[in-house]
Every structure is written in structure tokens, then in C-alpha cells.
Chain length 443, copies 2
């Protein structure tokens, strides 16, 4: 399939080094292909722990590993820092912002997702979401400065607004953020202020549907809600946000009168949408997008008229194929992205070798979510059925699972030390704000 | 001296939580005063290791400790995040940006220094200096992106410019930066790139005077130069920078023709100037400034007509008073700032108690500078005379001295682990760039 006039070996371009892209590249280790891995950042981000950076529990380097270092020993990989803006499927090139075209024989697009404000992009600066390190720094800055400003504020109403934290969205990120915010207020900061009592801070979790952690079984969802309440989070389900401004937000409950919450620190965890690159891929290839902007892929993760292009991870609307059963949609979680990356790479190599490709099958090992110190819920899928547990054992399980999957020995060790120390001291390691002024790097 | 109508105890305001301010506040632990510590950031920065953050060896939280956490158990301290813009010595208030006036009975100003471009402030965005965490992030970003861009650059001349690093100024910071840059190029990055050889990067250290590390004895200065050369740094002394632009700089040697260096990553380590708050203090109190903008203080560190105001640290033009000897100028180093902080606090308490104040005496324990892996110079002042050593033993001494003085047990442990790991693997932990675009937080 490679054009021998331009390259001795098939040229593979992988766009994105999240879980999907990373696994795809790893799975081609030793293969007779020339891989170019392109990403907008220089690091693979361990996104499940990003909320810890946002809540000052971990430093950024603890959860981010330089991509070219990860692949230094995989000789068939060239790492490029750059942003892919277009795909030209006819010419078989991807276009890099400021750096011309990159030709490919095979392409794997793993550009992931970003937050969605459901058409209200003007809310972005008022309620930042959590996808990148910059997002995490911005949220960390807002949380820490809210307490700092409250300490200086003489007006009681304004002081209370600075000490009211609202997390919008009751999915895993929203639950983690709300739980950890309550922990910071009740366990980390008390004793450090002279004019305010940080423990009196309010943390609200606002969710439009009736449940937090909707992807969990009902009993674990209820359990998570109880654990949140015990940590001091005011959980408001069946409550839709209708307006956000610089001083607070307006909430419309499913039943009852709308009301206002005065808050100076609002975090958005309510929705994700596929990377805009999905649209570029669809335009160039004729592939279809689903409502969330994800590219609808064939069973083997390639595109309908373009077997040389695969889409994996959060950017793909993929189905899991188990023989004899109806195909099931694949959830947007990191194990699914990793598995898709491996399948797409295997299929790519099969295609080069003239072998048939395999349909993607998602192996669901279960679901887990953390809530705060000693608080989590776990729902494991075992051959004997579901194994559910919560509270301290679930938190320990979550902790070790995450540290285990963190990339690189050093990170694991440092993260464990940071956590062990945070656990015993109830302190948070990374309470550093590099500048007081609002970040101008946000839109 | 306190006004009983407004406060039961004398109100002490300390501006700045660098080494001077921090030690002053610590020295008043348990005293019958109400201290307010004001700083523009929320952390005490261990500045001697800031170059490690800039060169991706340490994460920011490893060298920054939240101030209010440091003083959580010192009940007479209130910590405020804020920027002091003016001092009104007649009204005895300091003015906070956006937050009104803060009255004091006693004032210690420890606002430190910033980089000086000798009137060429237009050079600041072209050659960032290293004083704050934001500076360190910006320099880290430029160093890492220079190699990334070189890997993408097809034009050989432009590629070479991206792989040419120039450090301006041969003081301790310049020597550390140049040595560590050479280390990154020769030891950390090789093997990770496919199109460039990082080891072929050029690192130049440009210094206007005939020597690097001018404050060191001549033999150690020569030794440092040799160690730098061995690490692969091209040391150019007697060379003044006359122009800096986006593509390089113009150098005028003391003897010979001017020449140009094409470089896309230039670091400024050539000059410091006192904080602009020095001018505000001088205007309000009639105190004099020296050429570097530092406030000229009395022997006891207070101001001529205002015994209730002291200035310490890099903002003070102080002299060391040893009975029977001519007063000597105090160098702008952290041990001097700490000692001044303690003396100013003791004199403040003496004044409240009606006791006489003491003249400041600087105890010089010596001087040390690191150059890179296994490379440093040490000049210890002992009762028996100077003890000088260099190379590996000096580097070990430097390492343990710095880790010892880092604030807080956690930081020390994590820094030691980071370093031990970096030493054995030759890797650098914090190679993370959060955004590709140039930071918009710089002027």
C-alpha cells in the first residue's frame, strides 16, 4: 500500500497522544512502518488524575509524561509537536498549523474530546472546564484565590459569594471536583485563615438529571450521593443551569421555582463534545458525525470509503461487536480508548499484510469513580457478574488502579508519596498560584 | 507605640514573603504584636532552585510553599494576598491594589528585586529573565519548544538558530542556566529525536566583564569557566550585548569586531534592580536610593526619619557593621536577606520595649554556585580562613545545602527523589509545556 517512490515503508500518521493514540503507536512497536505521532502538546496527560492538579493535590509533571521520551526507544516513531487543522483524504495528507502538510499512507485520528457548553460558549470564561493542564491551572487559581479574596473581603454577602463553589455536572469529573473541594474546605485549609472559617464554605453540585454518576448502577449512584453529602457537598439533582454570569448562576429545578446562587468560583463538568477535527475528517471523507460530533466508524474502526483512515477514542462513535449479540455503543472512557487504539493498529498492520481486519470488541472491566478522601464507588465486571463496593475499600482500589496505570515508574512513585503525605497530613502539595491576574491564555 | 483606640497590640505590616520577609515574621513568633504579611503571590519561592523549574528538573510545587500554610500555627500572623503599590509614611498606611489601605504602627519592607534590562525594557519579551514561577515556566516553554521546532524545521540555517541557546550574564543564575542547558542537550535529550541531534545544540554564555562568577575568588571563577567548557558551554567573556531581536543578538567584544549570533532562545541573567516599591518608600519618607534603586538604610536597617520603617533584603542598600572596622556593603544573597529580616524584627521588638536597637552585622558563611551535573564551586568562610573546593564534592555540598534549606519536609523529600532519579537516569522530570502559544501573561 506504500508508494515505493516516496518511502520505503508505509507511512503511518497518528494524530493525538491521549490514551487511544498512545496505545496505537505502542501496538506498532517493531512493525515495518514509519510512524509520525503528532500532538498539540509535548506530553501524554493522565487525564483521570487531572482533577488532582486542579485541586492542588498533584503537580502537573506528576501526571504528564513527555511523549518523545515515552517513545525514545521505539525506533519507528517520529514525534512532532503540532496542531492538525485539516485532513485531505484525497491527497492523503494532514495539514499542520504553521508547518505544511504531512503525507500518510495510513492515518489514525485520536484527537479526543473537549468540553461542550451546549451552544453557550460565552460561559467558558465564567465556568472553566477541565480537559488540559492549562484548564487545571486556571481552576486551581480560581479555587485558591477565592479563599484568599474572601479573607480580604469586608462585605459579608460578597465574602459568602467568594466562599461558594459550584460544580456543574454530576458525572465522574463533577463528583471528583465537588468532593475534593469539600475536602479542601473542611480538612486542608482550616486553621490557616484569621478572618474567615474555610470550613463554612459551601460546595454545590448541580446536575440536570435525577442522578449523579448516571453510568453507574442505581445503588452505587445513590451511595455516591450519600458519600458526597457526608463530605459536605450540597447535591442538587433535577436542577438545570439557565444562566451563568460573573457573580453567580441561575438554576431551574425540574419542579419548583427558579433560584439564584451567588458564587465566584464555578467549574464546568457538564458536557463533552468531540474535537473539531472530527468535522474536518467528515468533510474530507464523507463520513457521518453523530450528535456529539463523533465520527461514525465501521466495525473495524476505519471509515466507510477510506479503509486507510481509522478513528479511535473519544472522537469515534464506535460499537462493540460480540458475535451473536446486538452491537453496543462504546462508552467514552479511557480503557475503551486504549482498546480502540490497539485494535486500529492491529487492523492497520493486517491491511498492510493483506489479512482481514477484526471488528472492535470492547471489554468492559467495570467502572469506578472517586469522590474524596476514603470515598469512592466501584462496579467491577467479573466473569461471575458484577462486584460492587464503596467507601474506603473502593477508594483504596481506585487509588492503586490509578497509580498502577500512571505512565512511568517515577511518576508512580512521586504520586504515591504525594498522596501518602497528603493522606496523613490532610495537606495538599501543589497549592501554588503563579499569578494573581486572570489567565489571558483562555479564550 | 500602638494606638489603643484602634488595636490592643502594635500592628506590624511586613511586605514581601521572600527570604527577608519570611525570617522577619518568624522572628516575631510569640511576640505581642499583630502581624500582617502581604505578598503578591500565595507562596514563598525558594529562588536558588528556580533555575531547576526553568530547566524542567523540578516541578513548581517542589520549590514553592504556600505562605499561609507556613504560618498556620503562628497565631499573631494574618496572611494577605495583595500588591502594595504605595506607602504613606505620614498616615502610616500601605496601599493595596484593589483593596484599600492597611494601617501599621511598624513596617518592614522586603519587596526584593526584579531583573533590569538597563533601560532596554523592550528586550524583556525577547530574552526573559528568571525571578518568578511565571518566568520559569516561560523559559522552560522556550527551551523545550526550541528543540521541538528544530525537529520540524527543514531549513538548516533556521534549524541551527533554534538549536542555539544564549544566556546573557555570567553571574550565578547565568552559569547555572548555561550549564544545565548544556546538560539537557548533551545528556537528557539524545536518542529522543529523529531528525536532529540535540547534542549538537550550541549553548553560549555571554558576559560583559572578563570573568564569570565575579563575586567568587579568581581561582574559583577560572575553575567554573573550565567546568562550563567541559560541559560544552561556549563561554564568551569581555563581550557586551548591544542588540536583541526576535532572531538573535549582536555582540560587541571588548577587543575585536562586533558579531551576530542567530538564536531563538535567549535567557536574560545580566542584571537586577530593586523593586519599584523602593521608589515609593523613598518618596514618602525622604529616604535616599542608591544607583540600583535600593533604599539606603540606617545601621539598624530603619529609615533615617522613620524608625518605624525598616527595609531588608535585596531592596535595602545596607552595610554590615563590625566594631572597629569600616562598614562593608552587604551582598544581595539569600543568607544576607534572612539575617536582615531577623535583625529588623529584633530591632522592631526592641523599639516597642523601649530598648536600644542593634546595628546590622552580616555573617558571611561563604559562597557557592552550581554549574551542572557534578559541577560546582564552593568558597566557605571558616574561622580558619577560606575553604575552597570544586567539581563533584562541591556539587554534593551544594546539593545538600540547598535541600536542607528548602522549606518543609515534604518538599525536601520530593526534591531529593527527583534529583536522585534525575541523576541516575539523566532524565528531567518536569518536561511539560502546558501551551504551545507564547504566554500572554508577559508584558
Amino acid at each position: 500500500m506504500a508508494d515505493p517512490t516516496t518511502s520505503a515503508r508505509p507511512r503511518v500518521v497518528v494524530v493525538g497522544c491521549g490514551f487511544g493514540g498512545l496505545e496505537a503507536v505502542k501496538a506498532m512497536d517493531g512493525a515495518a512502518v514509519d510512524i509520525t505521532l503528532v500532538d498539540r502538546t509535548n506530553h501524554h496527560l493522565f487525564q483521570p488524575l487531572l482533577y488532582q492538579v486542579a485541586t492542588a493535590g498533584l503537580s502537573a509533571p506528576a501526571i504528564a509524561a513527555p511523549v518523545r521520551h515515552l517513545f525514545r526507544k521505539q525506533a519507528n516513531v517520529t514525534t512532532l509537536l503540532g496542531e492538525v487543522t485539516h485532513v485531505d483524504a484525497a491527497a492523503r495528507v494532514v495539514r499542520l498549523k504553521d508547518h505544511g502538510d504531512l503525507p500518510y499512507d495510513h492515518l489514525i485520528v485520536a484527537a479526543g474530546a473537549t468540553h461542550s457548553y451546549f451552544g453557550r460558549d460565552d460561559w467558558a470564561p465564567l465556568a472553566p472546564g477541565l480537559k488540559t493542564l492549562d484548564d487545571a491551572f486556571e481552576i486551581r487559581r480560581r479555587i485558591l484565590l477565592a479563599f484568599e479574596t474572601a479573607e480580604k473581603e469586608a462585605n459579608p454577602a460578597r465574602r459568602e459569594a467568594w466562599m461558594t463553589f459550584v460544580v456543574i455536572g454530576g458525572g465522574p469529573t463533577g463528583v471528583e471536583m465537588a468532593g475534593t473541594l469539600a475536602e479542601i474546605a473542611r480538612q486542608t485549609l482550616p486553621g490557616e485563615f484569621r478572618r474567615i472559617d474555610p470550613a463554612s464554605a459551601r460546595v454545590l453540585l448541580v446536575e440536570g438529571s435525577p442522578h449523579v454518576l448516571q453510568s453507574m448502577p442505581d445503588d452505587l449512584s445513590m451511595n455516591a450521593r450519600e458519600q458526597l453529602t457526608r463530605l459536605g457537598v450540597d447535591v442538587r439533582t433535577d436542577a438545570r443551569v439557565t444562566t451563568i454570569d460573573a457573580h453567580g448562576l441561575q438554576v431551574q429545578p425540574t419542579e419548583g421555582e427558579p433560584y439564584r446562587i451567588e458564587s465566584r468560583c464555578i467549574v464546568w463538568a457538564a458536557g463533552v463534545v468531540a474535537s473539531p477535527l472530527g468535522k474536518a475528517v467528515a468533510q474530507s471523507t464523507g463520513a457521518q458525525l453523530d450528535r456529539a460530533g463523533r465520527v461514525i466508524v465501521e466495525p473495524d474502526l476505519s471509515l466507510p470509503a477510506h479503509p486507510e483512515i481509522s478513528v479511535v477514542g473519544d472522537l469515534a462513535a464506535a460499537k462493540s461487536h460480540v458475535p451473536g449479540r446486538e452491537p453496543q455503543p462504546v462508552p467514552g472512557v479511557s480503557p475503551a480508548a486504549k482498546q480502540m487504539g490497539r485494535t486500529a493498529a492491529a487492523n492497520l498492520l493486517a491491511r498492510i499484510a493483506g489479512r482481514p481486519t477484526r471488528a472492535f470488541r470492547y471489554r468492559d472491566y467495570g467502572n469506578l469513580a472517586t469522590i474524596g478522601r476514603n470515598a469512592a464507588v466501584v462496579d467491577l465486571t467479573t466473569p461471575l457478574g458484577h462486584l460492587k463496593f464503596s467507601g474506603y475499600p473502593a477508594w483504596l482500589f481506585w487509588l492503586f488502579a490509578h497509580v498502577y496505570f500512571l505512565i512511568g515508574f517515577r511518576n508512580r512513585l512521586v504520586v504515591l508519596i504525594d498522596w501518602a503525605s497528603a493522606y496523613w497530613s490532610k495537606q495538599r502539595y501543589a497549592r501554588v498560584v503563579s499569578h494573581i491576574e486572570p489567565s489571558r491564555t483562555r479564550p
